[in-house]
């Protein structure tokens, strides 16, 4: 375990508490402090990953490292989004999730790399896939908040989500931005992954029929459908949010399979 892990965890916890406090009080300074602490946690998490890399444990060595890397990228993607849309409510939902992912990654038993660990193609595949899933995760959190806020608006229940949540248009724009950003990453990850699998000693088309690859293809298909439907059919709002959650669900299933399976 990296020596900066406790610091990273503590910073995530403080940021999470500040986001929660903001959700309860709407005080802007709490949201600003939460973002600042989250940026600190992001840097600390980067140092954590870097320290492990120095010991030869890079993010793509096994499922747990990939999970930690996804958590880090998700936080990075969210911090990037906040430069344009300050969405503290998204942070209040996203930070606890990434914190749990990070802890799960660090506490899970370590796997060992297969003989193909150092393949550049493999590293590219896993790197892009984890980045894509991280961006989709931000879209997914935005989609969840959209569905909650939209339900309140439709049913005339003007609760906390209505008062403190961002406008529907902002959440939909966040969704569109994230999918536009994540889809090319995920697409290249799919292609490089397919080539990598085909080149394995026991590789071949039959390996692409394994559940994790099928699920990846389903996730890709759902996000591709969303992009096309937005462009051609004018889909937005609720439909886009539901499709995003379906795609993210499939992508997270792939991550879970890798995580449980151990070495990649």
């Amino acid at each position: 375990m990296s020596p900066v892990f406790p610091l990273t965890l503590a910073l995530y916890a403080v940021s999470c508490a500040l986001y929660m406090a903001h959700a309860a009080t709407s005080a802007d300074r709490l949201a600003r402090s939460a973002r600042l602490v989250l940026a600190g946690a992001f840097l600390s998490h980067a140092a954590d990953i870097g320290a492990l890399c120095l010991h030869g444990i890079h993010p793509f060595v096994d499922g747990r490292e990939a999970l930690s890397f996804i958590a880090w990228l998700t936080v990075g993607a969210y911090l990037g989004v906040t430069l344009r849309h300050p969405l503290p409510l998204v942070g209040a939902l996203l930070v606890p999730i990434t914190m749990v992912l990070h802890v799960a990654a660090r506490l899970a038993p370590s796997g060992t790399s297969g003989p193909q660990a150092s393949t550049l193609l493999r590293l590219l595949h896993i790197g892009l896939a984890t980045a894509g899933v991280a961006v989709f995760a931000v879209a997914g959190v935005g989609a969840l908040i959209y569905l909650g806020a939209e339900t309140q608006l439709k049913r005339h229940r003007f609760g906390a989500l209505f008062r403190q949540g961002p406008p529907l248009a902002t959440l939909d724009a966040l969704n569109q931005t994230c999918i536009l950003l994540g889809f090319p990453l995920f697409t290249i990850a799919m292609i490089t992954g397919a080539i990598w699998v085909m080149r394995l000693p026991d590789g071949g088309v039959h390996r692409l029929l394994a559940p994790r690859y099928a699920l990846s293809a389903i996730a890709w298909g759902l996000f591709a459908t969303l992009l096309l439907a937005r462009r051609l059919g004018g889909w937005r709002g609720r439909r886009a949010a539901l499709l995003t959650l379906a795609g993210l669900g499939a992508a997270l299933c792939v991550v879970a399979i890798y995580f449980l399976r151990g070495p990649i």
Binding site: H156, P167, L168, G234, R239
Partner: protein, 429 residues
């Protein structure tokens, strides 16, 4: 005594209110019928309330009046009387006066402090005056209600800090669109509420403003007032396709935006969000329109739900306003009391003067010269004035002046003016 029977946003949902709302000829007909229930009548029909104010002869008549008023509303609007019964309230005497004052001062409004209701009460008063259904009681109560409303507006922050229906509309649009810059607003109908909400939206950056009404001239007038563009009614579907926010406040008896129409419009809009604020009662938009995807429909009750939190924040101002209302109610009844004692005071004075002058006349023979006899009479009048000073003050201002007047009439056998004195006194109950 004054009696108020009616229903409001506090007791009835918009589905019921829109069925009993009265306007135009139906309102005038109802006013004529109401005048037959009590000696005086006034009907206030707004999007948030339908109330009958009646002058009743005594306490016993209130229950009958309530039933009669219920039947009147049910008969006019073909709504089942038992359904109406569950929503009606009844205030009598001081409670009715207080209610009238609170309504006029916008303390009973859905959006406390909104300015429209005072104008609506004034219009109702003018209509009743033209119909000849205003008598001495309502004739004194209404001006006092206007005075109370004016005091509340000028002496408290209730109106200034009020969250209006219009600002609630802006709030909702912002929760959907975020920045309202460049969001097109369609105003349907040329009513005051639409005017107000459109101005608020424009102030928040929304625009351009599009206005349409069944009467193009009225649309043009409103468009000129708010800096928008008037469009003929026939362009309504096309306008719905291009706008982002719809403000509807027509006086139509039936919905003008059906589910089918909005469904067609939404297909043409390719799913773009549409926020519809329906501030009309009866509603202009079919409720099922709100079920359509990406359509956000709010009627007056939904707006009430949104603004009710603001009420708690203005508790202090509301308390100050309530104190003004209580003061004005006291003043009204003080005036009523003094008016009620007038016949008794007059009779008592005449009785004393008559006795004094009769006695003076008996002894006037002992006085020589006209000048001395006039001095004798003046002395008698002066004694009467001094003797009656304290009792008359008490009759005019004491809380129990009615009981005092009764006692005075009995003690001095002042039977001649009993009926007129009593009839005026009844108004203050």
């Amino acid at each position: 005594m004054l009696v108020a029977v009616g229903l409001s946003h506090r007791t009835a949902p918009v589905e019921v209110r829109e069925r009993v709302a009265l306007s135009g000829e139906a309102l005038e007909a109802a006013l004529r019928s109401a005048a037959r229930l009590g000696s005086e009548a006034l009907i206030l029909s707004t999007c948030n309330r339908v109330e009958l104010y009646l002058a009743a002869p005594d306490d016993r008549a209130t229950a009958e009046l309530r039933a009669a008023a219920r039947d009147l509303l049910a008969e006019n609007q073909r709504i089942e009387a038992p359904l109406l019964d569950t929503h009606l309230y009844l205030h009598g005497g001081a409670a009715a006066v207080r209610h009238l004052f609170r309504v006029a001062a916008s303390l009973d409004s859905m959006v406390v402090g909104e300015p429209q209701v005072l104008g609506q009460v004034k219009e109702a008063f003018q209509l009743a005056q033209r119909a000849g259904t205003i008598g001495p009681l309502l004739g004194r109560a209404l001006p006092r209600a206007f005075s109370a409303a004016k005091r509340v507006r000028s002496e408290t922050e209730v109106a200034r800090s009020s969250a209006s229906m219009a600002s609630a509309a802006v709030d909702l649009a912002r929760h959907i669109f975020g920045d309202l810059q460049g969001k097109e607003v369609l105003v349907i109908g040329a009513g005051e509420m639409g005017d107000n909400a459109a101005r608020h939206l424009a102030a928040a950056g929304a625009g351009p403003l599009l206005v349409t009404s069944r009467t193009f001239e009225r649309a043009a007038e409103l468009a000129a007032r708010i800096g928008g563009a008037a469009h003929p009614w026939s362009e309504l579907p096309a306008l719905l396709e291009r706008c982002d926010v719809v403000l509807s406040s027509t006086g139509a008896a039936q919905p003008i935006l059906s589910r089918e129409l909005v469904q067609r419009v939404m297909r043409a809009r390719r799913g773009r969000w549409l926020c519809i604020i329906d501030i009309a009662v009866p509603r202009d938009v079919a409720p099922s329109v709100g079920e359509l995807e990406n359509v956000y429909l709010y009627d007056v009750d939904a707006l009430q739900e949104l603004v009710k939190d603001h009420l708690a924040g203005r508790q202090k101002e509301a308390e100050a306003a309530e104190a003004i209302i209580a003061d004005e109610v006291d003043r009204f009844f003080a005036t009523e009391r003094s008016l009620g004692a007038v016949p008794t005071i007059k009779a008592l004075r005449e009785h004393f003067v008559a006795v004094a002058r009769a006695e003076a006349h008996k002894v006037s023979g002992a006085f020589e010269g006209e000048q001395n006899r006039r001095a004798l009479q003046a002395l008698a009048d002066s004694i009467v004035n001094q003797l009656l000073h304290a009792p008359l003050i008490a009759l005019k201002h004491e809380e129990q002046s009615e009981a005092l007047a009764e006692a005075v009439r009995t003690l001095f056998a002042l039977s001649e003016n009993d009926e007129s004195a009593a009839s005026v006194a009844r108004g203050r109950k």
